[in-house]
């Protein structure tokens, strides 16, 4: 069948069943003179918005953002629940120009609305569903929603059992910690030996200090003795050298030697 025919047929069917289209009716009736329909439409649109948010939250990767969104969803749910209560009161009120069936249908509408609000996912059933699975069977997707509400369905056996991943991680952590401890032990032994050596050296040096001082005094004494001796020796030499006779003696000795060698040559 050609496409255009299909489109026309769809339009016809829609027009035929228009009266069952709640949204359209709502729009038609929402020019709404009574409080009920106004409140009803507003709650409806809110529910739609919350559902969309809930969908976003369930697909959200970032856990913190998911938690925030779920919290928002829960808050809106609570607010909507209060509004539903108000709506119920309005529904019971008798309004002008309203048939009895319509009145009953309003009550049903309110109840259905309340159910719809309850059904909105806010991350809680997610946790309950996963907790009821056996985690020991290796749940591949860990729970992304970190919650602290202690609802009963969470506290069954599977909840506190560790997964393979976490036990492996713990083993690796223990092994690394042991290796670190061994390394630190070796270092501490080395440091002990160093400390002992350093202290012994310190004591030995302390022992040597008075010996050095004694040596210093002795050496000082020896230097002063030497200085005295040197001064005296110098005086003697000066005495000897400055005498003219000494030079004359040497000259004459050379002359005599020269004469003797001449004679004997």
């Amino acid at each position: 069948m050609p496409v255009i025919d299909i489109i026309f047929r769809v339009d016809e069917i829609c027009k035929k069943y228009d009266k069952y289209d709640i949204d359209k009716q709502r729009e038609l009736g929402a020019s709404g003179d009574d409080a009920f329909s106004r409140l009803y439409t507003s709650i409806d649109s809110d529910i739609e918005a919350v559902l969309r948010k809930a969908e976003l939250a369930s697909t959200e990767k970032n856990r913190a953002a998911a938690v925030a969104m779920n919290a928002e969803v829960r808050r809106t749910k609570a607010r909507l629940a209060e509004d539903v209560v108000k709506l119920q009161k309005l529904a019971v009120k008798k309004v002008k120009g309203l048939t009895r069936e319509e009145q009953e249908s309003r009550c049903d509408l309110v109840i259905s609305l309340a159910d719809r609000i309850q059904v909105i996912p806010d991350g809680n059933e997610h946790a309950a569903k996963q907790a009821s699975n056996d985690w020991g069977g290796g749940a591949s997707a860990p729970n992304k929603n970190i919650k602290f509400d202690m609802s009963e369905e969470d506290m069954d056996d599977g909840f506190f059992q560790e997964s393979e991943e976490s036990s492996q991680f713990r083993q690796e952590y223990e092994m690394r910690k042991k290796k670190q401890d061994e390394g630190l032990d070796v270092i501490s032994e080395g440091l002990d030996a160093l400390k002992n050596l350093a202290r012994d050296m310190n004591e030995e040096l302390d022992k040597q200090v008075p010996l050095m001082e004694e040596m210093e005094t002795k050496v000082d004494g020896a230097t002063s003795d030497l200085k005295n001796t040197n001064v005296r020796l110098k005086k003697q030499l000066v005495q000897m050298r400055s005498s003219r006779n000494f030079c004359i003696d040497i000259v004459l000795l050379c002359v005599v030697l020269g004469i003797v060698s001449y004679i004997y040559k």
Binding site: D192, A193, N196, R199, N202, E203, D206, K207, P210
Partner: protein, 291 residues
């Protein structure tokens, strides 16, 4: 002068003997001859004769009022006697040398001489060795040089340990502690106290060891040290009868820094039955139990 040492010896002897022709002995000449003779004998490995020559040379120097040279000759004579294994002469000669050094006013060489004597006699005559060590330590302490005495105390305590006289050994370690305290040598002091405690434990005298520990804890320097921690761990391990803990402390680095003989003792701990001590403490509890 003939180069024959024997002839020199006889000549020197003649010089020192007083006869009708000789009214005063010529010590200077004699000493020279004696020294030369001694060198000659040593070169020809006649140690007995060399020793005798050195003795006489020393006597000569003494007569010439040079105690230093006399002491030096005495020490050489003693070393030769050691080579010949004439032990009582060794002790005598070193003692004489030490006295001569003290005459010079030099305490350190005096105690060194006694120390050398003691070391020579350690294996052969340990009691004499101990006496020599003690005298050496006293000489140093009198002179106020306690630090030099540490090694002597340690050597003496080792001799006692070899003789298995453990209380005496521990006493010497405590004396070491006192000497160290005077010089503010805290490391040596703490090590000495720990050694004393280990010696007591080796002798299986737990009460004495605990008393020793309590006494030593009065001293601040010991209280703050690693050695006191090791000591307390050891004593608690003994009280609880925990053999593993004892072995662990004995092989720890603090104990391994002590003397070799102490390390050997520590490795052999615990001696005797440690569990017996535990039973006694349990009995005490029952007595105090009022029900």
């Amino acid at each position: 002068m003939s180069s024959d040492p024997d002839k020199m010896m006889s000549k020197a002897d003649k010089m020192t003997k007083l006869t009708l022709t000789r009214w005063s002995a010529d010590w200077r000449g004699a000493t020279e001859l004696y020294e030369q003779a001694a060198n000659g004998f040593r070169a020809s490995n006649k140690y007995e004769k060399a020793k005798v020559a050195l003795e006489k040379a020393s006597k000569g120097q003494e007569m010439q009022a040079s105690p230093w040279d006399a002491a030096k000759h005495m020490e050489s004579a003693a070393a030769l006697a050691q080579k010949l294994s004439i032990w009582n002469e060794v002790a005598d000669f070193y003692r004489k040398a030490s006295e001569l050094y003290i005459e010079c006013g030099r305490a350190q060489p005096a105690s060194d001489a006694l120390g050398k004597a003691a070391r020579a006699l350690e294996d052969v005559k340990p009691d004499d060795a101990i006496q020599l060590y003690t005298d050496a330590c006293e000489i140093l302490e009198e002179d106020g040089r306690d630090q030099m005495a540490f090694d002597l105390y340690r050597a003496c305590a080792n001799v006692y340990i070899k003789l298995e006289k453990f209380t005496d050994a521990a006493t010497f370690f405590l004396r070491l502690g006192v000497a160290a305290d005077k010089c503010d040598a805290t490391n040596s002091q703490c090590k000495a106290y720990l050694s004393a405690i280990i010696v007591y434990l080796y002798a299986h005298d737990l009460k004495q060891a605990e008393k020793c520990y309590n006494d030593c804890s009065q001293i601040d320097a010991f209280m703050k040290s690693d050695q006191s921690r090791s000591a307390s761990r050891l004593l608690t391990a003994y009280n609880e009868g925990d053999i593993e803990e004892i072995k662990k402390v004995a092989s720890s680095s603090t104990v391994s820094n002590l003397d070799h003989s102490i390390i050997k003792l520590a490795r052999k701990l615990p001696t005797g039955d440690v569990t017996a001590i535990q039973m006694n403490t349990n009995d005490d509890l029952d007595e105090d139990d009022l029900t």
